[in-house]
C-alpha cells in the first residue's frame, strides 16, 4: 500500500508526555471513589500444605474492618482462572488456580483471605490477627522430573507434569552419520517483569442496575472482562473494564490474577467501591514469574558447519498453577528455538512442570529470550569444536530472503504453524558487525592490561509479533473538528496514543493535532484483543487504516449530499471535503449526524522483525563482575512508525535483558520460601549499570502480512541478550575452560566459575 508518510516514520514527540511529565497522569492508585473501602490480601507463607482453617474472628472485630472473606464466602463451585491461549480444557483444568485457596495451598503468596476495611492501614493491622492452620507438605522446587517427586501438587492427576508440547519440523530423521553432535544442559533462571507501578484495582458495583465497573484494567481488558463475566456470573454487557495510565506491563500486568476476581466480588458483596493496591514484597510473590527452564538440547551439523538438526527436551518451571498465559513461553521456547537459522530437522519437547512456586506467565519475549540463549550457546560451542569462525558459522546458516515465507517448526497440541515472513537477515548481521567494529574488538581477547578478561560475541534473532486474531478501530468525527479514534489496544507505557495518532493522521491525510486516541477501556469498542505479543501497531494500526477507509467513504457520502454532487466528485483535503465547483464543507459541519468509520483487521500470520546483536564484555576475576563495554542491536522492523519510541523500546528491552542475564534472580529456599522480598534482593538495573548501549533500526523489508507493512518490535531488544552476553563471557574466560550453561551470570557465580570450577 502507498500511504503518504507525513507522520508515519517521523520521530514525533509523544502526546502522552504532556500529562505524564507534569505528574498529571492518572494511575489506578490516583483514583478515588466516595465510600471507598480498602482491601488487603492475606497470603500463605507456606509453600505446600493442606489448608485446615483460616480463623478470621479476631480480625473481624478490629477497628475499621468491614469484612474478612475466605473460600467459604466465595462458595462452590470455586471459580478457577482459565488458561487463555491454545487451551485443552480437559487436560489443563485440574491445574488452574482457584481464585482463593480452599483446601490446599501450593505456593508462598497464594491468597487465603481478603480483609476489607475503611482504610488501608486498618486492613493491614487486621492481617496480623488472622490465624491460619496448614498441615505442611514437602515442597517441589525443581522442575526436573524426579521419580518419585518429593510431592504431588494435584492429587487428582497424580503427576506434576501438566502437559507436554511437541515442536517438530522435517522428516523425523534421527540418524546423522559422520556428523558433529553437541549436547548440553542449560538452565535459565526465574525472573519477574517488575514494572514500576505495582498492580491495583478499584471495583464499583451499581446495585440498582446490576453493573460492575473495574478500574485499573491493562493489557487485555476485553479478555479479562470475558473471563470475569464467566467467573462472577454476570453478562459481559454488565461489566466495564476501564483503563487509566499504566506504569509498565512487559507482559505480566493485565493478565487475570486472583485479585481480578476477588476485588470485584468484594465490591458486589459490600455494595461499596473497593480499592486494592499491592506492595512490592507482595508483588514479587503474587505477580507472574517467568523464564525458568531446564533443557537438554542437542545440535547436529555437518563438519563444514551446515546445521542439520536441533533436538531436545525442555522442562518449564510453571509454578503452582497454570495461569492464563502459562503455556506461551514454553510453546515459544520449543517452536522458535531455531530462530532465524535454517535447520531442517527439529524435534523439541517441552514439559510444563508444576512446582510450589509463584505461577508463571508471559514476560517480554517469553520463551524466546531463553531459547535463543540455549541455541546461540550451542552455536558458539559447535563453532569452537569444529574450528569454524563464529560469524561465518552463523552466516552460512541464516535463512535467506528468497526462502521466505520460511516455515519454522510446527507445535502441537493444538497444531500451529509459523512462517518467517520477510527480511534479509544477512544484511543486518553485516550491519551489526560493521557498527560494532567486530574486526577490531574481536582481537581484544582474554587477559588485558587492566587485569580483566575481555571477550566478544554476536547473535542473530527473530522477534515474533503482531499476533491475531483481530483488532478493532472506530473513528468518529466531532463537531469541534477533532477526530476521535477508539482502539482495542491497551497502553502500557509504550506510546500507543502517539503511534496510533500518527497512523490515523496519515491514513486520513489530516493533521495529527486533530486526532484524539482512546484506548483500552471496554466502553469504547464492542471487542478488542489488547496489547500483547507486540501486536498493537500491527493490529490496531492496520485496523485504523481500514477504519480510515470507511470513514472517508462516509465523509464523501455525507459531503455529496450536502454539496449536491456525486460522491466521486468529492475531494478530501485535510478535514474539509471539496467539489470541483468551488464548494466545500468542513468535516466538523457534517458531523451533526454521526460520521464514523469502523474497521476490523483480522489475520492469522504473525510478523517477524529480526536482527543481530553484538557485545563486548570485561570480566573482573577478583569480583566476578561483568562490565558491558559495548552492546549493540541492529534490527529491521519492516516499517518504522516512530523511530523515537521504537529506539526507546529497544534500549529499554536491552537493559531489561541485561538485568535478567546479570542481576535479577528470584531465589527459592528448599522449603519453597521466596527469598526475595525487596529491591535489595531483586536487583533491577540502575543508571550506573549499563550505560554503553547503541541501537540501529531499519524498516526496509515490510511484512506482507498487514496493510502497513509493520512488524511488532517491542521485545526484540532482549531476545538475544542472554545469548550474546553469555557467549561473550565464555569467550572472555575461554582460557579457564569455563562454559556458562546457566543464568544468571551474577558476580558471585562468575567468580565461582573461575575459582571453583566443578
Amino acid at each position: 500500500m502507498n500511504k503518504v508518510n507525513s507522520f508515519i516514520g517521523a520521530p514525533i514527540e509523544r502526546v502522552e508526555d504532556l500529562r505524564l511529565l507534569r505528574g498529571k497522569g492518572t494511575f489506578i492508585d490516583d483514583v478515588e471513589r466516595d465510600g471507598m473501602a480498602h482491601a488487603v490480601i492475606l497470603r500463605s507463607n507456606v509453600a505446600h500444605g493442606i489448608l485446615r482453617n483460616v480463623n478470621t474472628s479476631a480480625a473481624r472485630q478490629m477497628p475499621g474492618v468491614l469484612a474478612v472473606l475466605t473460600a467459604r464466602d466465595i462458595g462452590t463451585p470455586m471459580p478457577t482462572i482459565p488458561l487463555r491461549h491454545m487451551t485443552i480444557p480437559d487436560v489443563v483444568r485440574p491445574y488452574e488456580q482457584p481464585v482463593i485457596a480452599a483446601t490446599k495451598v501450593r505456593y508462598v503468596g497464594e491468597p487465603l483471605a481478603v480483609v476489607l476495611a475503611e482504610t488501608h492501614e486498618e486492613a493491614e493491622d487486621a492481617l496480623e490477627n488472622i490465624q491460619v492452620e496448614i498441615d505442611m507438605l514437602p515442597a517441589v522446587i525443581s522442575c526436573r522430573a524426579f521419580q518419585p517427586p518429593p510431592a504431588i501438587l494435584f492429587e487428582a492427576t497424580g503427576t506434576n507434569c501438566a502437559i507436554t508440547y511437541y515442536a517438530k519440523r522435517g522428516s523425523g530423521q534421527t540418524d546423522f552419520p559422520d556428523c558433529y553432535v553437541r549436547r548440553e544442559r542449560f538452565t535459565t533462571n526465574r525472573h519477574t517483569a517488575a514494572p514500576m507501578e505495582l498492580r491495583g484495582l478499584l471495583a464499583e458495583w451499581d446495585d440498582g442496575n446490576g453493573r460492575l465497573t473495574v478500574n485499573g484494567a491493562a493489557k487485555v481488558p476485553f479478555t479479562t472482562r470475558r473471563i470475569l463475566s464467566k467467573l462472577i456470573g454476570l453478562p459481559i454487557e454488565a461489566i466495564d473494564m476501564i483503563e487509566f495510565d499504566v506504569g509498565g506491563g512487559f507482559g505480566a500486568r493485565g493478565e487475570f490474577f486472583p485479585e481480578d476476581f476477588l476485588i470485584p466480588f468484594a465490591a458486589r458483596l459490600l455494595k461499596r467501591p473497593v480499592k486494592w493496591t499491592e506492595d512490592f514484597r507482595e508483588h514479587l510473590m503474587a505477580t507472574n514469574h517467568s523464564r525458568e527452564y531446564d533443557g537438554d538440547i542437542e545440535l547436529v551439523c555437518k563438519r563444514d558447519g551446515t546445521l542439520l538438526a536441533l533436538r531436545g527436551h525442555v522442562f518449564a518451571d510453571i509454578g503452582a498453577y497454570l495461569r492464563s498465559t502459562a503455556n506461551v513461553g514454553p510453546r515459544n521456547i520449543a517452536q522458535f528455538m531455531s530462530g532465524p537459522y535454517r535447520i531442517a530437522e527439529i524435534d523439541i519437547d517441552v514439559s510444563l512442570m508444576m512446582t510450589n512456586k509463584s505461577p508463571t506467565g508471559t514476560y517480554r519475549g517469553p520463551g524466546r529470550f531463553e531459547g535463543d540463549y540455549m541455541r546461540e550457546r550451542l552455536l558458539d560451542l559447535a563453532a569452537q569444536d569444529l574450528g569454524i569462525d563464529r560469524v561465518e558459522f552463523r552466516r552460512r546458516n541464516l535463512v535467506t530472503a528468497d526462502e521466505m515465507p520460511y516455515q519454522v517448526s510446527s507445535i502441537r497440541p493444538p497444531e500451529v504453524s509459523a512462517y518467517l515472513d520477510s527480511g534479509n537477515y544477512l544484511e543486518t548481521l553485516t550491519h551489526c558487525l560493521k557498527e560494532f567494529d567486530w574486526e577490531t574488538k574481536s582481537k581484544r581477547q582474554g587477559l588485558q592490561e587492566d587485569g580483566r578478561y575481555w571477550g566478544v560475541a554476536i547473535g542473530c534473532f527473530i522477534e515474533g509479533g503482531g499476533s491475531g486474531p483481530l483488532e478493532n478501530a472506530r473513528m468518529v468525527v466531532g463537531t469541534d473538528g477533532t477526530i476521535s479514534v477508539y482502539v482495542g489496544s491497551a497502553n502500557v507505557g509504550q506510546g500507543v496514543e502517539t503511534v496510533m495518532a500518527q497512523i490515523s493522521a496519515d491514513s486520513l491525510g489530516v493533521d495529527m493535532e486533530r486526532i484524539r486516541i482512546f484506548h483500552g477501556s471496554t466502553t469504547y469498542l464492542p471487542d478488542g484483543y489488547g496489547s500483547s505479543h507486540s501486536r498493537a501497531t500491527v493490529m490496531a494500526g492496520s485496523a485504523i487504516t481500514l477504519a480510515a477507509d470507511e470513514l472517508k467513504k462516509a465523509v464523501r457520502k455525507a459531503a455529496a449530499l450536502r454539496l449536491n454532487c456525486a460522491e466521486t466528485e468529492v475531494v478530501l483535503r485535510g478535514t474539509t471535503a471539496q467539489t470541483p465547483y468551488g464548494t466545500s464543507v468542513a468535516w466538523s459541519e457534517l458531523a451533526v449526524e454521526e460520521l464514523a468509520g469502523f474497521g476490523t483487521f483480522k489475520h492469522k500470520k504473525n510478523t517477524y522483525a529480526y536482527g543481530s546483536q553484538a557485545a563486548q564484555v570485561a570480566v573482573n576475576p577478583g569480583t566476578g563482575h561483568v562490565e558491558v563495554i559495548d552492546y549493540i542491536s541492529t534490527e529491521d522492523v519492516g516499517r518504522i512508525v516512530n523511530p523515537l519510541t521504537l529506539k526507546g523500546q529497544i534500549i529499554g528491552a536491552m537493559v531489561q535483558g541485561l538485568g535478567g542475564t546479570l542481576l535479577e534472580h528470584l531465589d527459592y529456599a528448599e522449603d519453597g520460601q521466596l527469598l526475595v522480598g525487596s529491591h535489595a534482593e531483586y536487583l533491577i538495573p540502575s543508571a550506573s549499570d549499563f550505560p554503553n548501549l547503541r541501537v540501529f533500526v531499519k524498516g526496509e523489508y515490510p511484512s506482507p502480512n498487514n496493510p502497513l507493512g509493520v512488524k511488532g518490535a517491542g521485545e526484540g531488544g532482549l531476545i538475544c541478550t542472554a545469548a550474546v552476553i553469555s557467549n561473550a563471557v565464555a569467550s572472555a574466560l575461554s582460557e579457564f575452560g569455563v562454559s556458562p550453561t546457566s543464568l544468571p551470570l551474577s558476580a558471585p557465580r562468575v567468580w565461582e566459575m573461575i575459582h571453583q570450577p566443578r
Binding site: L42, D125, E128, P748
Partner: protein
C-alpha cells in the same frame, strides 16, 4: 504445622506515638519513660524501611530534629568530631573534612544514593549497626569513640566495643548517640577504602578499610577492617600483624591478604557464598595495597 500466618507483611507503617522534644534531656526522658519500646528517629533512612516492613513496632518515635547542638562538624588538632545528626551530604560537601579525614569522605561516597545522603545521619547509621554498612567499619577501623547520653548520664564507648551483632549495639534503650570522635589524621598517612556491591549504592557484599603510616619505608600502625563479612565490622588483627613493620613487597601483601581471608568467616547466603566473600576481602585488600605501593595516599575507586 504452621500457625499464625506471617504471609506477605503489610507495607503501611504500624501505629506509634510521636514526640518532637526541644532538648536532649527531654529526648532521653521520653526514651526512658517508654520502657524500651521507644525509638529515636533523625534522618529515618535506616529506621523507616524497618517500620515499613513492620520489623520494628515501637510504641513511640522520638524525633531529634529540634534537639540542638548535635549537627556540627568540628575539626581541630585533636582530630575530628561529628555530631550525631551530621548528614552524609554535610560530610560530602565539607572541603575541610576531606583534608582533615579523607577516609571518611571517601567512605561516604559509597553510601546508598544521593537522595538518601540528604537525610541519613552518621548517628543513625552507627546506631542501626548494619553489618554491611560503611560508617560502622570506618569507626572500627579508626578506633573512633562513640559518645552517648542516657538517663544515667554521659559515657563514651570505643567503636571496637560498640557493635555487638547484626543490628545490635551497646546502646541501652534510653540512650542516644550524641557524637563520634575520630583521632587526628596525620598528613602522609596511606589509606584505602574499597567495597564491592552488585550495583552502585547497594549494600556491600564485602568491603575493607586500611590505613598505615610510613617509617623507614615500612608500614607502621597498620589498621585493617572488613565489613559485610560478619555480624559486625571486624578488625583483622592477624592481617595487621602480617603487614606491621614490614615493607610493602608482593610477598608481604600476599601474606597479609591470606591472613585477612582466614580471619573472616562469612555465612553463605542468597547474595554470595562464604568462599566468594572471603575471596572478595582478599582481592579488595590486595588491590588496595598494591595501589598504595604505586601511588601515595589516594583512595582506590570502586573495584570495578
Amino acid at each position: 504445622m504452621a500457625g499464625q500466618s506471617e504471609g506477605a507483611k503489610p507495607m503501611k507503617l504500624p501505629k506509634f506515638d510521636y514526640a518532637c522534644p526541644a532538648t536532649i534531656e527531654q529526648a532521653v526522658a521520653l526514651l526512658a519513660g517508654a520502657d524500651g519500646t521507644a525509638r529515636p528517629i533523625s534522618g529515618g533512612q535506616s529506621l523507616m524501611p524497618m517500620l515499613a516492613f513492620r520489623l520494628l513496632q515501637p510504641s513511640l518515635l522520638v524525633d531529634l530534629r529540634h534537639v540542638p547542638g548535635l549537627a556540627t562538624i568540628t575539626i581541630n588538632n585533636d582530630g575530628v568530631h561529628l555530631g550525631a545528626k551530621v548528614r552524609w551530604c554535610d560530610i560530602e560537601t565539607s572541603a575541610a573534612l576531606k583534608v582533615a579525614h579523607p577516609i571518611l569522605t571517601a567512605a561516604v561516597r559509597y553510601i546508598a544514593h544521593h537522595q538518601i545522603r540528604t537525610r541519613g545521619t552518621i548517628g543513625g547509621s552507627i546506631a542501626h549497626a548494619d553489618p554491611a554498612a560503611e560508617m560502622p567499619c570506618v569507626a572500627v577501623l579508626c578506633d573512633a569513640e562513640i559518645e552517648i547520653v542516657g538517663s544515667a548520664g554521659k559515657r563514651k564507648i570505643p567503636a571496637t566495643s560498640f557493635f555487638k551483632g547484626p543490628l545490635m549495639t551497646a546502646l541501652q534503650p534510653d540512650e542516644l548517640i550524641t557524637g563520634i570522635r575520630f583521632l587526628a589524621w596525620p598528613a602522609g598517612r596511606r589509606w584505602a577504602f574499597e567495597e564491592f556491591a552488585r550495583r552502585r549504592g547497594d549494600f556491600a557484599l564485602a568491603g575493607i578499610g586500611v590505613f598505615f603510616d610510613v617509617r623507614d619505608d615500612k608500614a607502621t600502625n597498620v589498621h585493617i577492617a572488613a565489613f559485610g563479612v560478619g555480624d559486625t565490622p571486624l578488625r583483622l588483627a592477624n592481617a595487621e600483624a602480617a603487614l606491621n613493620n614490614r615493607p610493602l613487597t608482593d610477598a608481604v601483601i600476599k601474606g597479609c591478604c591470606q591472613a585477612a581471608r582466614e580471619a573472616v568467616d562469612p555465612r553463605d547466603n542468597t547474595h554470595g557464598s562464604s568462599a566468594y566473600r572471603r575471596g572478595l576481602v582478599d582481592y579488595l585488600l590486595g588491590e588496595s595495597l598494591r595501589r598504595l605501593t604505586v601511588n601515595s595516599s589516594k583512595a582506590c575507586a570502586n573495584a570495578h
